[in-house]
């Protein structure tokens, strides 16, 4: 499906209460268009739940429910198994959660569902912190970022650990499909959701979704930052289909400092910090490249 072929009908209506410029809203709105009406969705407590479904006003025009914080994959499992019993096996079952609810507290349920190869689509929208509760660091927060639990202080500043590589952890589960995407890379985004919809078994897509409120950037720059993330190598666009890894976009290797510039969460970083991050990016990219060459 090309961009211009996407349907006009919104299955995620305007009027929702996401912050202006929210990357997650861009993701939700567009992915449900690609997946279509025959989809059921579960979300944990997260920004998406709050801004898309505050009783009795709902943005979703497909069945959507919420249970708790850490069990998105478990609930998607329950929905899928029940639909199968009811003879509606072709319905797409999607669990969509943030990075906190996936990489941290949601990890157990995610890993269990992946290991069982449950026939569900799991989407992690990655805004790189626990945004709903006011910007706390998660396993997916990048090195050096300011968050309210890694604040800029007189003695210490910023996150001290590097971003957890969830895509590769999911690849190690040997599930049929794992992919990374970004709201700034339109055709790649559409392709991946289209592909995932058709595959049976456990599918995982991690979408890069900048957050103006938490990353301290201009609301207009959400898409620009996606492009910087991919061009610098901070975020690799790739996919793993039945063990075969394909890099979808080779990074230009723009200096990481360019990526950091528009974001207030990095403005305290020292030259040494930036070099550390740059080294990590180079190492990460080399590893990603090798993986693509190996897993063919």
């Amino acid at each position: 499906m090309k961009l211009k072929e996407m349907p006009d009908e919104e299955l995620f209506t305007r009027g929702h209460t996401a912050c202006a410029g929210c990357g997650a809203a861009i993701a939700a709105r567009n992915l449900i268009k690609v997946l279509g009406k025959d989809t059921v969705v579960v979300s944990p407590a997260c920004c998406l739940l709050i801004f898309s479904a505050t009783y009795p006003l709902i943005a979703w025009k497909v069945p959507y429910h919420h249970v708790a914080f850490e069990n998105t994959a478990a609930c998607a499992t329950g929905m899928k198994r029940a639909l199968k019993v009811r003879g509606k096996d072709s319905t797409t079952v999607m669990g969509i959660a943030g990075d906190g609810g996936t990489a941290d507290i949601g990890f157990q349920a995610l890993s269990g569902a992946a290991e069982r190869n449950e026939d569900i689509l799991y989407v992690m929208y990655d805004n790189e912190a626990y945004m709903n509760t006011g910007i706390q660091r998660s396993g997916s927060t990048p090195f050096g970022a300011w968050t309210t639990t890694t604040p800029v202080g007189k003695v210490k500043s910023g996150k001290e650990n590097f971003k957890k590589d969830m895509p590769q952890i999911m690849m190690a589960h040997n599930v049929p499909y794992v992919a990374t995407a970004s709201v700034g890379h339109i055709q790649d985004f559409i392709n991946k959701f289209e592909k995932a919809k058709k595959i049976k078994g456990f599918r995982y897509i991690q979408v890069y979704t900048p957050c103006p409120t938490g990353w301290r950037h201009d609301t207009a720059k959400t898409i620009e930052i996606c492009k910087l993330a991919v061009d610098s190598g901070m975020w690799t666009l790739y996919e793993c289909e039945n063990g075969k890894v394909t890099i979808n976009r080779k990074p230009k290797m723009t200096p990481v400092a360019e990526y950091l510039k528009p974001q207030g969460r990095f403005k305290h970083m020292t030259e040494a910090d930036i070099k550390k991050l740059q080294d990590w990016v180079l190492k990460k990219w080399a590893n990603d490249e090798k993986l693509a060459q190996m897993k063919t």
């Binding site: 009406k37 025959d38 989809t39 059921v40 579960v42 407590a45 739940l49 709050i50 479904a53 505050t54 009783y55 009795p56 709902i58 979703w60 025009k61 497909v62 069945p63 959507y64 429910h65 919420h66 249970v67 708790a68 850490e70 069990n71 994959a73 478990a74 609930c75 998607a76 499992t77 329950g78 929905m79 198994r81 029940a82 639909l83 199968k84 019993v85 009811r86 509606k88 319905t91 157990q108 349920a109 890993s111 269990g112 290991e115 069982r116």
Partner: protein, 393 residues
């Protein structure tokens, strides 16, 4: 009629199979594990057609049941002790979303100290979870109550999840003769599942469990309370219907035995009820007027019925297999609340914790104390810690 010697765990699994559960979430924990194992055998042998999910934790087990139930199918799981505690977060979600999930709970002590034998302190913290809760004292009852649980929970007047409790090892692992029910009779009693409320369905869009502001909360909670108040009526109806169809009557909310003219009445939960039953017979033969109330349903609580019995008794004792530290056993607390204003001497016997046996002699001791209190009108000791070394009895 197929009468076989089976364990309580087998009986629970069999009841679930006869209830035609469609999604089962399975996770092991002693002493419940055999329930999910038996179910896996039923499934893999083609006797039970259902989606069997070998989940990776109890939290996931209950979550899977909740979402599956919300998507319109009959669901079942089983747990004990620490597993129930891990599910704790999801239990009020099941009841708040008004989903008729049924769960077998093999009552086992909750840590610390870590212990695998019977105690009721795993289910007691779930008192206010919005789940309907029943305690069984024999394996026949266990099987039967699983079927009845679905019927009660799925009733539109109720629409609340329900747990069926059985004591660790005493029922779970002990074989007893059980009339394993016929599928045809079970189907007649429990027909095809009709969800009591709106469900997740791609062809009929609705959303549930979403973020809810204060304006709707009082009404939501009131409706749950209302359902819990309607439940006793439904419980009695289901019990009567079951007795009619299967010829077995386990009693409704309570099962009173010889209480009408009793000088001393003991209220018990779980298998102690069964032991006490024998002691009542022995003591009655000796001319002592003792009676027993098997407290079956913990939630909803049979306040009115217990109060009526207390009004006519000379002394009432409550046996607790759990403690609310610093106060008394929880069943005693509930009883005192029901008996508020009455002058009847009341005593609490805390015993059998962590699997310590409750013997015939123990029960006799309780009745002797009660008969004494009934005669003198005075309570010698309000709370007795049965057989606890270093503590005055």
């Amino acid at each position: 009629m197929v009468k076989k010697m089976v364990t309580g765990n087998y009986a629970a699994a069999y009841g679930a199979m006869r209830s035609r559960v469609k999604v089962v979430a399975a996770y092991p924990i002693t002493p419940q594990t055999f329930i999910v194992e038996h179910l896996s055998e039923f499934v893999n042998n083609g006797e039970l057609e259902c989606e069997y999910v070998e989940v990776e934790s109890e939290h996931t087990a209950m979550s899977t049941c909740v979402s599956a139930s919300a998507t319109g199918v009959r669901t079942f799981t089983a747990t004990s002790s620490q597993g129930l505690a891990l599910m704790h977060e999801i239990l009020p979600i099941a009841s708040g979303m008004r989903l008729p999930v049924v769960m077998a709970v093999v009552n086992r002590a909750i840590a610390a100290p870590i212990n695998i034998w019977v105690e009721h302190n795993d289910i007691m913290p779930e008192r206010d979870s919005g789940w309907i809760q029943v305690f069984c004292d024999n394996n026949q009852e266990v099987q039967d109550m699983v079927l009845q649980a679905f019927k009660i929970a799925e009733d539109k007047r109720v629409a609340l999840p329900m747990s069926v409790g059985l004591d660790a090892f005493i029922l779970s692992h002990t074989v007893e003769p059980v009339d394993l029910m016929d599928q045809g009779l079970a189907d007649k009693f429990l027909p095809k599942y009709v969800p009591p409320g709106p469900i997740i369905d791609p062809d009929d869009v609705m959303d549930v469990g979403v973020f809810t502001p204060p304006e709707y909360m009082m009404e939501a909670r009131f409706n749950m309370d209302k359902a819990m108040r309607e439940a006793p009526k439904v419980i009695e109806e289901v019990n009567a219907a079951f007795a009619k169809q299967f010829g077995r009557n386990h009693g409704g909310m309570i099962d009173p035995y010889m209480v009408d003219d009793a000088d001393a009445v003991l209220i018990t939960l779980g298998t102690a009820s069964s032991t006490a039953h024998e002691v009542v017979d022995d003591m009655r033969a000796e001319g002592k007027k003792v009676g027993l109330v098997k407290l079956r349903f913990w939630r909803p609580y049979p306040s009115a019925q217990l109060r009526k019995i207390a009004e006519k008794s000379k002394a009432v004792g409550v046996f607790d297999r759990a403690v609310s530290y610093g106060v008394s056993g929880p069943s005693f607390i509930e009883f005192k609340s029901a008996a508020y204003g009455l002058n009847v001497p009341a005593m609490n016997f805390i015993g059998g914790l962590g699997g310590r046996d409750v013997s015939l002699a123990d029960v006799r001791f309780m009745y002797d104390r009660l008969l004494e209190a009934g005669k003198t009108g005075k309570v010698k000791r309000e709370i007795t810690w049965m057989g606890t070394r270093g503590v005055e009895q």
